[in-house]
């Protein structure tokens, strides 16, 4: 239990520290508008990070999530806008493909890295077919949802809290979520205990696909247009977010709340340099440095824990 708590505390603390420094450097960010600007683009990243976290909980890795979110964004900006029913059907079909991939990986005992690598080409190709050049338009309702101005807390914060809460309930608290993490821990013993690993994995991948779809829709709601490469960098960003949030590569050890915090931290790390008036060239580098720093802190804390 203690290590579980530690798993969330370290990322939460490092996030709070980073946010504190940003507030100190630029007090104007400490406002409704400022917070919204800081974290606006974190919403789709947080959704995609949850998708990646579900796959990592299964002991797999999804190298196609960036291409998949781009594909969903392209569908949202075109079909979902022009012919909502067709668009919804395509997105549902895409979730079905995700479930199928999850099932095939298990049935044929394939390495998830390579399968998702292949799928990333497929999603990117489909996205290019739909939108050969940047364009499209966000459906009215999507735009309305993403730009709504709730009282007290800005949309970006409310959305992040909601994503963390829902993902926590589904992945950490429900029986499905527990079984899912069990598959990541030891698939064979789950099978012996009478669970169908096949349907659990297909269900988990479908859930990951659902979060990927939501990430694509949310992204278009913010950018109002899409292109085929819009979210390619999400693939590496989401892996970093999951690990930053206390997830581990094996044994189904993940944290939903941590993953959302990880996504927020990476978003903040990218804009951090602007506040230090440093060159934007180092934006991506700052994300890498934060990642290394947090992992180093966690190592030290874990060590102290094991000495007791």
């Amino acid at each position: 239990m203690r290590t579980d708590l530690l798993r969330v505390l370290v990322p939460a603390f490092s996030f709070a520290l980073l946010l504190g420094v940003v507030f100190w450097l630029q007090p104007r960010t400490m406002s409704y508008l400022g917070l919204n600007l800081l974290f606006n683009l974190a919403v789709p990243i947080a959704l995609a990070t949850i998708a990646q976290m579900i796959v990592i909980a299964l002991d797999d890795l999804d190298l196609s999530i960036g291409a998949f979110v781009s594909f969903c964004a392209c569908v949202t900006a075109t079909f979902l806008n022009d012919a909502p029913l067709v668009g919804a059907a395509i997105l549902l079909g895409a979730i079905g493909v995700y479930a199928l991939v999850g099932a095939v990986i298990w049935l044929r005992d394939l390495p998830s890295i390579v399968v998702s690598l292949g799928m990333s080409f497929v999603w990117s190709g489909l996205a290019v077919l739909i939108l050969p050049s940047p364009g499209g338009a966000a459906p009215e309702w999507v735009r309305a949802v993403m730009t709504v101005r709730p009282p007290v807390l800005p949309m970006a914060i409310v959305a992040s809290l909601a994503i963390a809460a829902v993902a926590h309930l589904v992945v950490m608290r429900s029986s499905f979520g527990t079984a899912l993490r069990g598959v990541g821990g030891n698939a064979r013993s789950m099978q012996r205990a009478g669970w169908s690993v096949l349907s659990l994995r297909a269900g988990a991948y479908a859930l990951a696909g659902l979060f990927g779809v939501m990430a694509g829709v949310a992204l278009v709601g913010l950018t109002t247009a899409a292109d085929a490469n819009i979210a390619l960098r999400y693939t590496l960003l989401t892996i970093a977010g999951v690990i930053l949030g206390g997830g581990e590569f094996n044994g189904g050890r993940v944290s939903a709340i941590g993953a959302v915090i990880g996504a927020l931290t990476l978003t903040l790390a990218a804009s951090f340099l602007t506040f230090l008036r440093l060159s934007n060239d180092w934006q991506i580098g700052a994300q890498g440095a934060i990642l290394i720093l947090v992992l180093a802190v966690r190592l030290v804390l874990n060590r102290r824990e094991s000495y007791r």
Binding site: S112, S120, V122, G125, L236, I239, D281, I284
Partner: protein, 313 residues
């Protein structure tokens, strides 16, 4: 080895040859020499990074180097800057590129070891930092490589492109290292069973350190050659080689689970990957269809070859 074809690399060459023939069917046999030259040239870059990635993947589950594209870009950029287009600086540029590769490799393993984090995360974080360093160095960079190097990278005085000869020599050395040297045997032993290798007295850390350094040095070399070949370094010059380096290893018949690798297969798979794209081009398919088919082919190969083996990334 039961269930796995005796020489898995034969398949990748067979597939490459079939695609080559299918392309020539459309053109009616014209352009065979040109297509062959182009295939050898572009496959060479994939081979160089693919060999490095293969050594790393052979180390066993979880070992992978995600920093290859960033290393290529940084090495190409810094090398061109060091040479500044002047004649007589070729060795300085090569040294800079290889030095950056070596630094990245040592840094990668230092992180893996010191923070005890999975190689994916370690190489991911360093790649973020290297990428930023490349953006910073590359700003406004419009330096051409020295004429001698540009001529070397694009030339083919012996009928075969020079870069292909370099890749061929490297592949031969890699094969010798892997199959005939103590180092190669140790890499495979770690990949098959790290515990057993440790008990057998294999210096795990030394071998892994050398492997990550080797991979990054090869990435640096590939970046150097690519920058000279294309007449300058661009920020996105390495981007396609992340997926490519993994794909050629897997299609080439090396085990994704580690412990078993295949040097000739990397060549076959690299030729195959280039030829398939040019075939689809010749058939008049657009970029979208080309990517979809590439993805389906990668999955078909792994689906046909991968079943039943020890799985794990």
């Amino acid at each position: 080895m039961s269930g796995v074809p005796h020489r898995p690399w034969v398949w990748s060459f067979g597939a490459a040859a079939a695609v080559f023939a299918a392309t020539l069917l459309v053109t009616g046999g014209t352009g065979a020499a040109g297509l062959g030259q182009a295939a050898l040239t572009f496959a060479a870059f994939s081979v160089i990074v693919g060999i490095g990635q293969m050594f790393v993947i052979t180390l066993g589950p979880g070992n992978i180097d995600l920093s290859i594209p960033a290393t290529m870009t940084l090495a190409g950029t810094v090398a061109l800057k060091a040479m500044d287009g002047a004649a007589g600086t070729e060795l300085l540029g090569l040294g800079a590129a290889l030095g950056i590769g070596l630094g990245v490799g040592l840094g990668n393993y230092a992180l893996i070891k010191a923070l005890r984090i999975p190689p994916i995360i370690a190489t991911l974080s360093t790649s973020f930092i290297i990428q930023s360093a490349a953006i910073w160095t590359n700003r406004g960079l419009r330096i051409k490589p020295p004429d001698s190097l540009a001529a070397f990278a694009t030339g083919a005085p012996l009928g075969v492109p020079n870069v292909a000869l370099v890749a061929l020599a490297l592949a031969a050395i890699a094969w010798l290292l892997l199959e005939r040297s103590l180092f190669g045997r140790r890499v495979a032993a770690i990949g098959q069973n790290e515990r057993a290798a440790r008990f057998a007295g294999v210096p795990i850390d030394g071998v892994r350190l050398a492997t990550y350094a080797l991979c990054a040095v090869l990435a640096g070399l590939a970046g150097f050659l690519l920058a000279c070949f294309s007449g300058g370094a661009a920020l996105n010059m390495g981007s396609e080689y992340l997926l490519m380096s993994i794909a050629v290893v897997v299609i080439g018949g090396s085990s994704v689970a580690g412990g078993s690798s295949n040097v000739p297969g990397v060549w076959g798979a690299s030729l195959f990957m280039f030829l398939i794209v040019s075939m689809l081009n010749t058939y008049g398919f657009g970029a979208g269809v080309r990517m979809i088919l590439t993805g389906l082919i990668i999955m078909t190969v792994i689906f046909a070859a991968g079943g039943g083996r020890v799985r794990r990334r």
